[in-house]
């Protein structure tokens, strides 16, 4: 079965610093989703990557999928307190013929003013 490993598990940065979160898959990815979760809330969809080498940006967040489609990174530039939360990577498991998602354990990000 496919597994997603995220690193680091937690991250504390000072406001204004850049940071990177990684997501590594045990198998080739057929798509990779990044979500953000705040305590007591659901998952907020950030970005979806499908093609090897693909890169997408939204505001100060950039996500990349490597050429081999087994690793993705999420980069935040000039972090702000509003970026704090848990970042989860998810990948579709098409073994059942449909888009069931498996998730990494998450990276907990704290941004200190």
């Amino acid at each position: 079965s496919q597994e997603l490993e995220q690193s680091p598990q937690s991250l504390i940065v000072q406001e204004g610093k850049n940071l990177t979160i990684n997501c590594t898959s045990s198998k080739t990815l057929y798509g990779l989703y990044w979500y953000k979760q705040k305590y007591g809330e659901g998952l907020i969809f950030l970005m979806m990557l499908q093609k090897g080498g693909e890169e997408k940006s939204h505001e100060k967040i950039t996500a990349k999928l490597d050429e081999k489609k087994q690793q993705s990174s999420l980069h935040i530039t000039a972090s702000q307190p509003s970026h704090a939360g848990i970042y989860l990577c998810g990948a579709p498991d098409f073994s059942g013929g449909y888009n069931k998602l498996i998730f990494g354990a998450g990276t907990r990000l704290a941004v200190h003013p």
Binding site: Y35, L43, M48, Y98, N99, K100, L101, F103, G104, G106
Partner: protein, 115 residues
């Protein structure tokens, strides 16, 4: 509303009681998913609906768990004879279809606490 709606947002109940959790997906989304998020287990898949049918129930932890969906819209997850290990956040997600690689949109979840 525009997003996935779940109710109740919080539920506290005694061990052995039955609970029902509700999910109202985004209008027009044919695919609906239930996930569970608990400490130490992360986010795990429970069940998937396409329309009113549930082709995959493999993630349901035991026969105390069941779910249904009516009218291709609202879904209810029922847990009978609740146990303390059922305490978790139950999340519902929907997407326009299940075979296309489209993002799933999540509700805010129901936080279930079993005393």
């Amino acid at each position: 509303g525009a997003g996935v709606s779940q109710s109740p947002s919080n539920k506290v109940t005694e061990k052995g009681k039955d609970v029902e959790l509700r999910c109202d997906p985004i209008s027009g989304h044919t695919a609906l998913y239930w996930y569970r998020q608990s400490l130490g287990q992360g986010l795990e898949f429970l069940i998937y609906f396409q329309g009113n049918s549930a082709p995959d129930k493999s993630g349901l932890p035991s026969d105390r768990f069941s779910a249904e969906r009516t009218g291709g819209s609202v879904s209810t997850l029922t847990i009978q004879r609740t146990q303390q290990e059922d305490s978790a956040v139950y999340l519902c997600a929907s997407s326009p279809g299940a075979r296309d690689n489209q993002p799933q949109h999540f509700g805010d979840g129901t936080r279930l606490s079993i005393l």
